[in-house]
């Protein structure tokens, strides 16, 4: 029937390896190329699958999930918009619109801040929490299947230590870090 919809993605990719010209070192060689390509393509593929599953089984986006999760972990289950923006690495306007959607879905409410009238909190509703819980199972399962399952525990730890050196890898995200 179909299956003609080639999955999209945000790949990118690398650099010559053959003979565009055969000049300088503007090329990536062997194993370095492999590493880089695998990095890009696996990311694209995994995220795509993750998103598809979450969308089809829970009608939310990976981003939605992420926001719900951050809120669930936050004290009082609420966070200022800016905090959300920073955590998710979206712009403030991006978060505004994303939260708009979640509010419309009933997963989040906007509440105002007593001590600073500029800030508006995004607060997780009970339905939001329920959604997160139900989606969580699926999602974590998928992450295991698509990512973690390919490694032994030691490998996972080695991988973590390698990837952990890359730019951006160390920005927050943990439980009570910040």
């Amino acid at each position: 029937m179909e299956a003609n919809t080639v999955h999209p993605a945000e790949t990118t990719v690398l650099a010559p390896a053959c003979s565009v010209g055969d000049e300088e070192d503007s090329r990536l060689e062997g194993v370095a190329l492999e590493a880089w390509r695998s990095f890009l393509q696996s990311h694209a593929t995994i995220l795509r699958l993750l998103d598809a599953e979450l969308a089809s089984e829970h009608a939310i986006t990976t981003r939605d999930y992420e926001v719900l999760l951050y809120l669930a972990q936050a004290p009082d289950r609420r966070l200022p918009m800016s905090a959300l923006a920073e955590s998710t690495m979206l712009t403030r306007s991006g978060i505004t619109r994303l939260v708009d959607g979640l509010v419309a879905g009933g997963f989040i409410e906007r509440t105002s801040c007593a001590s600073d009238a500029r800030v508006s909190y995004a607060a997780l509703t009970d339905e939001g929490l329920a959604k997160l819980r139900s989606a969580g199972c699926t999602h974590v399962g998928s992450i295991r299947r698509l990512f973690l399952e390919h490694f032994t525990p030691e490998e996972t730890s080695r991988l973590a230590s390698l990837l952990g050196r890359l730019p951006g890898a160390q920005r927050g995200g943990a439980c009570t870090a910040e």
Copy 2:
């Protein structure tokens, strides 16, 4: 002045680790969490930087670059739109529009196929090739700096072998692979 534009990204992120509820295994623990988080966040961060550099120094996108590169490596420096779509992991319509842009920029021409009137080739122009070459230096340099430089050769190779197991990592992309 500013620097208030928090860099955006397509992160996602993981799963609880604290105490959303303290139920089942719908959580990611320790080192697995680290690996997954690093994977997501480093990707987001690196691609963002890469894109910014390419945009500011060469006025093209990472995707543009990718397409140019694929064409440069192709026999006769041209490829059918569908082939491009597959390589880049974009949809056919996505490629149409992307190529539109590159044609407008003079980097690509559309030519038709003698043996099959349905296909239209995207063919690299000389300017396109020049663009690729000049951008290539910057780009590959950035990849080295942002990614490769964080690893010794053995580490790179180990990383390649780990990432190489992930879904999507083995799809084509090499020189004369197909």
